[in-house]
Symmetry: D2
Subunit: 400 residues, 4 copies
């Protein structure tokens, strides 16, 4: 293991996913947990120069004032996860890392997310440019203060409303112009992404928000020699879809309809309860089936906010398919997973692999990380097993 010092800057730092990831990092440093759930700890990746838990320093932005202790305690109380002794064992690290969390920007977050902002120091600026500059100042301070060899920015904040890009997103020049324009509509996720890539820092977009998924940002990656991955961690129902759809395809069974109903009750749910924000989520969840089977079955996805469920996302899927001799048959599954627990290790995995990619001079959006995302950048491949085989093949190609 190297002596590198890696800064992990989290957008939505005290949210459920980031707090769980940070707790996990602390627990790994103290050997309080094993590596279950972390793909990057599998034997097939053991020879890669991935950063160990000890290498990381945590910092980040949030728009709600909180602390890691408060976040993980709430998760413990409400969702009935984490052992108290594990929490106690990690408290010192969590408290230390809290000092690196700065007020984020609500510029471009949309009304539902902005309403959640309760941190009085939250960045209220007049232009996109000003927002980017304040974010970059925080990132540079973080790197300097902690003498970090590499800083990676990962966004796991709440889902923004769907967003249609226009021509101003097509080149660096046009986008830079837009940053100076008060009238420009640029989502917060994109301001964070641009700020980090422009500093040559890799960016992971763990949300369905726009982030860096537009041409100018790809151009910026090449210019600044950096890497970006996303979008939207493939944690639960969608993972199942990209696992099962290939089965139906390979068996030549025709999917007639695929209905997926999701319920959950964490803070993300409050945001998704706004139909506008929900739309982006449903969209990324719904496209994968058609993409895999090669035709358009009747698909339906709902996500509903049911507070009693807290962080336990439960999905019922009803798959109606036609087999030999026109016979209709049914497969149903019920997924009962804890959202933060599923997402946190994938966030760490994608951070570790993305940092590696940059160090290996793989700029832009590397397609071999598709298996971690619902809407992978750099590829249209959604079949989970094809995606995973690409990751393994990539690892094998790297000499031991």
């Amino acid at each position: 293991m190297s002596n590198r010092r890696i800064g992990l800057w989290l957008v939505g730092a005290w949210g459920g996913v980031c707090s769980t990831a940070v707790l996990g990092l602390a627990a790994l440093r103290k050997n309080l947990i094993d590596s279950v759930g972390l793909v990057s700890e599998k034997p097939e990746f053991a020879h890669l120069d991935l950063d160990g838990a000890d290498s990381f320093v945590i910092g980040g932005h949030d728009i709600r004032k909180s602390s890691y202790w408060q976040s993980v305690s709430e998760l413990h109380q409400r969702a009935n996860i984490f052992d108290e002794r594990l929490l106690e064992g990690c408290k010192a690290d969590l408290d230390e890392w809290d000092k690196n969390i700065r007020p984020g920007t609500i510029y471009g977050s949309g009304p539902t997310i902005s309403k959640l902002a309760d941190w009085s120091d939250v960045q209220r600026v007049d232009t996109p440019r000003a927002a980017v500059q304040r974010i970059q100042q925080d990132l540079k301070d973080f790197q300097a203060r902690h003498k970090l060899d590499q800083v990676i920015v990962a966004n796991a904040s709440s889902t923004e409303p769907p967003f249609q890009i226009d021509d101003s997103y097509s080149t660096i020049a046009k986008f830079e112009a837009a940053l100076d324009n008060k009238e420009s509509r640029i989502p917060a996720s994109t301001l964070y992404a641009w700020a980090s890539l422009d500093l040559g820092m890799p960016h992971v977009n763990f949300t369905p928000s726009l982030g860096a998924s537009f041409p100018a940002a790809m151009e910026l990656c090449q210019k600044r020699k950096t890497t970006t991955t996303g979008k939207d961690g493939k944690t639960g129902e969608t993972l199942m879809k990209t696992v099962l759809a290939p089965m139906f395809k390979h068996r030549n069974l025709q999917v007639l309809s695929w209905v997926g109903h999701n319920i959950f009750g964490n803070r993300d749910g409050v945001v998704l309860d706004d139909p506008v924000n929900k739309a982006s989520k449903v969209q990324t969840k719904d496209q994968v089936i058609s993409s895999i089977v090669g035709y358009k079955p009747n698909t339906l996805v709902t996500i509903e906010y049911i507070p009693s469920m807290d962080d336990w996302k439960t999905a019922w899927n009803h798959i109606h398919y036609r087999g030999f001799l026109n016979t209709k048959m049914i497969l149903q599954f019920i997924w009962q997973g804890c959202d933060s627990i599923l997402a946190a290790p994938l966030l760490l995995d994608s951070v570790r692999f993305t940092a590696l990619c940059q160090r290996r001079d793989e700029y832009g959006a590397p397609r071999q990380l598709a298996c971690f995302f619902k809407s992978p950048m750099g590829t249209d491949e959604h079949d989970f097993f094809v995606q995973y085989a690409e990751l393994v093949q990539y690892a094998r190609a790297i000499k031991k």
Copy 2:
């Protein structure tokens, strides 16, 4: 498409799986159905010299006197499958093929299966050798009468009790000696397999019974230049296991327990209701998970005979797994599939591919057909997607 005439000789000819396969062949000949459910009809195999529906002549053995019309009518009535017009359209072919069905042997079938034998002409012989000779006579008559270029024997009869082979199964010489010995214990499935392979006819074992899965039979394949595949069609719950277990493995999620309860009510169920016969089934269904994940979770499989279910096999699986930070989560699925409908196209697929393998001089047990079987011969690979990739790779390697 070639002008070859292919004889498909079915053991358990009037059973649910074979009758459905034969109905499907007839319907394909009449263009009454599309190719949904048939893997071998997928575009990635279109360039292979596989035999079309028109190439096949059906014959077979059974121990219960019936007819195709009676079998498919019963399935229609009890399991509520098949359209009446489709049945009518296929009747002529079914009636014609009935003429090629001969009384089978009950030598070595075990008491539960023997009790089902109601055909007075059923073969009652004194030695394994005599049984093999009578089977071979039927096969040779079939080939001669119909001027067949190639005959393939496929066994989809009821599951036999588990069977431990001894040293007499280790070489051709020892097995030939055993055939002449009245005291030898040789299961019927193996008599059929030996009879066909010894004539140079490929043999598909679609059941969990012993069939040709022993060293002397492998030696015989090389000697007679023929091919054998099996065992036990991977149709439903086990298919799901070999699809989902890789997901848990790749995500580094630890499977704690995997419980599978199956209920169904067709004639196979009557046989499986005998705990001895059931044991072989449970065995082949249970091993796949450990084999894929690489450790031994707590697994449980039951198969129960519930007459009201008829041919609709319903499986509930409860998968308890551990994720990041020691969190236990749950995935459940409910599979409601029609047994014959799922099995019949796979039987036809494995027959088509096996016949091709023999013609391509691939003798023994070709591992690239593993995706069709619960206990694939020639490989320990159970991951469905790895299996399927091998089949596709095999097809690609064959020049168009």
Copy 3:
């Protein structure tokens, strides 16, 4: 069994529910089926003077031109129900009854339902009064032509949009005035109900539409000495809710959330796919839980149109509840029922009981029939077992 001749006039006569009910009546007359599914055939009601299958003559209104044979054949094809021999055995009766079906009115049906009307003779009139008069003329002709002792009108047509009544629905006088007013907004279901009650004919509203559920209609029942029951047959998911909610109540388990997702694909689904029409359905389905447990859990109900499901309504319910020592637990159920098959016998049951009530001079909305309806008229009791106990008690009070 009496020699009464009973006319059953069906609104939505050729729809799935009515066609299935009529097929069932024909099959009962021919002794082709047993009484399974018919509550009114249970031993506890054997001593009541209920009308036998032989007593009924069928007539009705529809806005789509069809025939019973076509309707039940379509159901047979699409939903895979009914035995062909049963269909053949009932054809003569069905064809005979077709002759009594008249074009209905689309006055007040709303745009989604009106679009379905493809019968050129459908009643297009200028005032509510004219619509009522044409309906009444058809009813009187039916009674006269078939020399009927009693005519009952039952509405099982498609669900109308929700409707808020105003003061004109408060008394007979005000409603009669509204009938003459071209500007009055009166739903078709109410025109049919008023037409029948005004002739002294009992009216069963098997739908969630307004029908006779307003004060002026109750007054009319008393004046014309007739009976009305409804609303909305309690066939599937809602039946389950009114069975399970009492369990949670009696065990003092606190329901935190109750989520119900329904999918189905019959013609009703096309209508419910219009969000306006769906609203009435969701409303009647959602109120029952709070009414039974006595507080407001977080409830959610969706109904979605998934064509491949045809008449098979599948409901997933996720019930999250709190037990002793603040422990959250879960009950889930999956209901896979055939809509027409579940509804048809309840329609016949409510018709038989309603006809009896009128003959026993029980005018208005008798509360003892609540167990058949999602929104029972005449009572707020939703607990299925309390409802059923009231029906049994009513039957017991009638001397044998």
Copy 4:
């Protein structure tokens, strides 16, 4: 509330159910929880002279040396239930009550249960009489030391193997003779029951073991003026069966098959993993459906020990039923309940009601408590709603 002091003597005192009940009592005394889960706290029973949480003193027998703190901490760790602050708040009471727990008898427990006995002081005696006497001495000491007005004995220990009674169980005289006979086969549950009833102390049998369910014990109740209730708390899957079976009955839907598979992993599971012990459980779970619907559907019940599940008992039930016009339909449910959490309040409920019955001079087995038990003594009524109505009617008949 009275000033009575009530001793609750628990057999299997430190087991999961008893420990949870005791924790609940302590929490109620400290107002740390509300009354959710306790039937006896419902408004319809508020006027009854039931004993409050403050009235109880806990004592009991066990064969494994443990403590309440250890038991509830283990449940907290393994099954992820109870809040730490609640545990802390109850510790003083739990520690105090530990002092009243005495080593139990393993005489007659059968080999599987005996193996679990790790308390060196466990009662090893030579005759049933000696076991009864030692139990009675402990009970009398308990009553005297704590100056108790009434002592109730409740058995929630592990399930014993099924037991066929012989003539020696028919009268007090014969049973007393058997107690003196070294050769007599008398289960431990019956020794406890006899010991308590013989002292005039009411006895609740919360297990499927024999306990007091034989004629001599009924005679003893009358002679000693005491009350006994049981058998086997109706907590989960069986509760559901007695809720749903009446629905099918009242709707005249024919249950074809009812399959129930249960998995769980607590200490009871270790005992039930012995097929002999399991047999009694399956027996009491299986009879209820036929008893309610009045005919014998094809039923199947399994209970399997899956350690990872701990105290979370999960049941999948598949109910296949026939509706109108011979149509087969399906209802499935999945019950995910925490065994101790469901059982503990019912144990307290039955204790409170049983103590009341004795004080009201209702000796023997009062049928109005049937709703709490899988195999209710004193009645064959299994319909949950009929049972509950009887309890409410009983309460109403008691003047306020």
